[in-house]
Amino acid sequence: MSEHELRVSKIRNGTVIDHVEGGQALNVLAILGIDGSEGLGVSIGMNVPSDRLGRKDVVKVEDRELSQSEVDVLSLIAPEATINIIREFEVVEKNRVTRPETVVGVLSCPNRNCITNADEPVETRFDVIDSGVRCDYCSAVLRSDIAAHIDV
């Protein structure tokens, strides 16, 4: 095991989200709905030097193995992210994030006049398209500014 992998696998059990674009670590936690209130051990590395990204963020969540469907939505803000599942300090699984078809309940619609911004009992729902995401209700297209519309 390389020195790099040793460093990211320092937690005993849980998930390490590596190769997150620098500056996106807090958005990663927001998308995953993790804010510390769950009592999980969470540690964040920000602006860690990286061969691939220049600078990257690393997020480690102890005692929770995140499922592929949970992490795929991260692809919207951290397309290069790798997901490492850790058991007894060992990386037992390593996956990339893949773009999901839809994103439910994570983003708010950028169109202020969209019915989903009007206190209705619905979760937002976006189709993932090549150039971003698209509101299922009002068809508004959200491109580069996805991180600014995370609503969890």
Binding site: P121, I129, R134, C138, S139, V141
Partner: protein, 317 residues
């Protein structure tokens, strides 16, 4: 129609459109065959913003099919103003009616409503989103005048907020139609509509001046540019003035050019156009009756005239 609802024009296939328009033709040819066809059925007209035209058109179409209509009265005095959600309102009204017609100021309202009820929902305008029943009567008007293939259509005015424009542009992609969009820079088609047009590979061009394309057009669809879209009144007058037509403007057009407008107009089409052979906007408005009759008949499960019409039950939890 494959769908139980009519929410956006993007959901409509060429077959869907032609089925409704064929039926509209039958209705127009023999309205008596459709009278009382849906007696005992109730249609709820849920208008969350004022509209006399569309509401009266649906009301009249329904009554000509023998359908009773109910409405919410004045929106200001209804439970809407007391803060009830749309989801709750439509779930209550679903228990009163066999289908809902919904006009709402927010984009996506009809999509949301359709998720909460089991009866057919017809979107009669959702904010700056869509207005697909208007599109069906627009298409009927174009079809009766020119057919729907090998056509050049110009759509002019407020393309950004004009829901009739968004629906019409989407529906026209089902046909062999070249679309020209004519508007000031600030009122160009929104990204979402542009996206759909691009996806279908439609032939679309944008212009700031009508003169550049006028002589190529078979149809010119004019929409109103509203004052409230401009921060400054002088700016409004300057811009809107450039997208007004009169009989003199149309001298450069093809003799067979059809001029349409979803109405009401203010001054974007001068009254002297009314007397030309180009004017079709009153015919277009009147087409709302047979087309909405055909639409209601389709969504409420009509087969051939003379058959017993089946209506969808309003089962309710």
């Amino acid at each position: 129609m494959r769908q139980d609802h009519l929410i956006t024009a993007t959901q409509l296939s060429r077959d869907d459109i032609e089925a409704v328009l064929d039926r509209a033709r039958e209705v127009a040819a023999d309205p008596a065959a459709y009278a009382n066809r849906h007696a005992g059925t109730v249609l709820a007209l849920c208008f969350f913003e004022p509209s006399t035209r569309t509401r009266m058109s649906f009301d009249a179409a329904a009554k000509r099919l023998g359908i009773d209509t109910i409405d919410m009265g004045d929106v200001d005095s209804s439970s809407v103003s007391k803060g009830e959600s749309l989801a709750d309102t439509v779930r209550v009204i679903e228990g009163y009616a066999d289908a809902l017609v919904l006009r709402h100021p927010s984009e996506g309202a009809a999509t949301l409503a359709a998720e909460f009820v089991d009866v057919p929902v017809i979107n009669a305008g959702d904010g700056a989103g869509q207005h697909p029943s208007q599109t069906l009567l627009d298409l009927h008007t174009i079809r009766e005048n020119h057919g729907l293939d090998d056509l050049t259509v110009g759509i002019m005015g407020d393309l950004k907020y004009g829901r009739t424009v968004h629906s019409l542009a989407a529906a026209l992609t089902n046909f062999d139609v070249r679309q020209h969009f004519i508007s000031p820079e600030s009122l160009r088609l929104p990204r979402s509509v542009r996206f759909d047009l691009h996806e279908t590979g439609a032939q679309v061009r944008e212009h700031e001046e009508l003169e550049t394309v006028l002589d190529e057009l078979d149809v010119l669809y004019v929409t109103r540019i509203q004052k409230e879209r401009f921060p400054d009144e002088n700016e409004y007058h300057r811009v809107a003035g450039e997208y007004r037509i009169d009989a003199e403007t149309l001298a450069a057009a093809d003799d067979d050019l059809t001029v349409m407008h979803p109405l009401p107009r203010v001054d974007e089409i001068a009254p002297d156009v009314d007397d030309t052979d180009h004017a079709r906007y009153f015919e277009q408005a009147h087409n709302g009756i047979p087309v909405r009759m055909a639409l209601l008949d389709t969504l409420l499960g009509g087969d051939e005239p003379g058959d017993e019409a089946t209506t969808m039950g309003a089962d309710h939890e």
